[in-house]
């Protein structure tokens, strides 16, 4: 690899690293994801600085065309990153679902089960049963506020 090519690869890798650090400083990328990219970058920088490593590794592994080994390793690295990202997306989906469900349930519990318009008079509504949940306690306390007779504390005077 000639010097110009080596320098341009190094400059590109450094520019990429600086871009990543900028994203990190702006909090647009998490430290953990960042770490993964930095490992990849370190690999590119090392190979650009010492191309002999790649040639040596290719010889040792019996790869006749060293850049093919580079492509293979790059693809494997990118696949690892993508699988990692997929697991993160699934985790986020699961958390989003839990939050969404909890919001929906709490809202429904706070509003309470409305009386059925056509229910027979003798049926007792489930809303009268005790429920053990913080929001339900809030709902219950709102429903059972002490009734102050008209005229305020008139009976005490």
């Amino acid at each position: 690899m000639n010097l110009v090519l080596r320098c341009s690869v190094l400059v590109l890798a450094l520019a990429f690293a600086i871009g990543n650090l900028y994203l990190l400083s702006r909090r647009r990328i998490g430290e953990r994801t960042m770490l993964l990219w930095l490992v990849g970058l370190l690999f590119v920088i090392v190979i650009a600085a010492f191309p002999g490593i790649l040639n040596g590794a290719a010889n040792a592994l019996g790869v006749s065309y060293p850049p093919a080994l580079l492509y293979l390793l790059s693809i494997l690295f990118l696949l690892t990153v993508i699988i990692y990202q997929s697991t993160q997306i699934s985790r986020l989906e699961q958390r989003l679902r839990e939050v969404g469900q909890s919001v929906a349930i709490l809202d429904a519990l706070v509003r309470g089960q409305p009386e059925h318009p056509l229910r027979p008079a003798d049926a007792t509504a489930a809303s009268e049963r005790p429920i053990d949940l913080a929001a339900a306690v809030t709902a219950a306390s709102m429903e059972r506020l002490p009734v102050i007779p008209e005229g305020g504390d008139g009976d005490r005077t």
């Binding site: 699961q94 969404g100 469900q101 929906a104 809202d107 409305p114 059925h116 049926a123 007792t124």
Partner: protein, 241 residues
């Protein structure tokens, strides 16, 4: 004492919901009703509230299975003994929901499936849907040795025991809980019965299984069923080993 909750998962069903709720109020007045709106944007929530039923409203679309799970969690919090779930598109009759609830109460079963194929019925379904049903039947039979005539029925009744098992976060498929759910239920030695019900074609709005979606749906449920089978086999080995 109200011990049954009718659970209606709904996504943009403003056109069909009034008919469903009205029929329920006339035929099955002894149950409470919960509509779970799965991020609807067409006034489904307002309509449900107008009809005086409880509404749980997902802030965004989380999936059919997630809507069912929200209903189970709500039912557990409120202390209902049974949940009967039916589709918001009007294809299920309120009287059939009532028979599913009764079957659950009388037999003490964990799961009652409202089957469109019992008693020699032949509902008119599209080719892909029929194919999916046949495939799921075979899958369930292979996995559990049990024949379930209507594995994709949206009309089902669950006992409190089953609700609590599937109320936790990762225990329930979030998109289409069909064959995978049934295989899991059957492998847990739960009592499953089928109740003959009728069905009507949807008149308004769009189905979640329209177009080519049944193909994707079949692939997803098949994969999910295999996961259930393998994870179950793993658990059994751990227990015996």
């Amino acid at each position: 004492m109200v011990d049954t909750l009718i659970l209606i998962p709904a996504y943009n069903e403003a056109a069909n919901l009034p008919g469903v709720l009205l029929e329920l109020q006339q035929t099955f007045a002894e149950a409470d009703v919960l509509v779970v709106s799965d991020g609807s944007s067409d006034g489904t929530v307002d309509i449900a509230r107008q009809y005086g039923v409880a509404v749980a409203c997902h802030p965004c679309n989380l999936g059919y299975g997630a809507a069912l799970q929200t209903g189970y969690r709500y039912a557990l919090e409120r202390g209902y003994r049974y949940v009967v779930q039916l589709d918001a598109d009007g294809q299920h009759r309120a009287s059939d929901a009532l028979s599913v609830a009764r079957a659950l109460q009388e037999t003490g079963a964990d799961l009652a499936i409202g089957s469109r194929f019992q008693a020699g019925q032949r509902p008119s379904l599209g080719f892909l849907k029929r194919l999916a049903i046949g495939w799921f039947r075979a899958l369930i039979y292979l996995a559990t040795g049990r024949s379930i005539s209507d594995p994709t029925s949206g009309l089902r009744g669950l006992s409190r025991r089953l609700m609590s098992r599937y109320a936790t976060s990762n225990a329930f498929p979030t998109d289409f809980p069909d064959a995978d759910f049934l295989v899991d239920v059957l492998l847990h030695q739960s009592v499953v019965i089928e109740v003959p019900v009728g069905s009507r074609p949807r008149t308004k709005g769009q189905s979640m299984h329209a177009g080519w979606r049944p193909v994707v749906y079949m692939g997803k449920v098949t994969l999910s069923t295999l996961v259930v089978m393998f994870s179950r086999a793993g658990t059994r080995r751990e227990v015996s080993g």
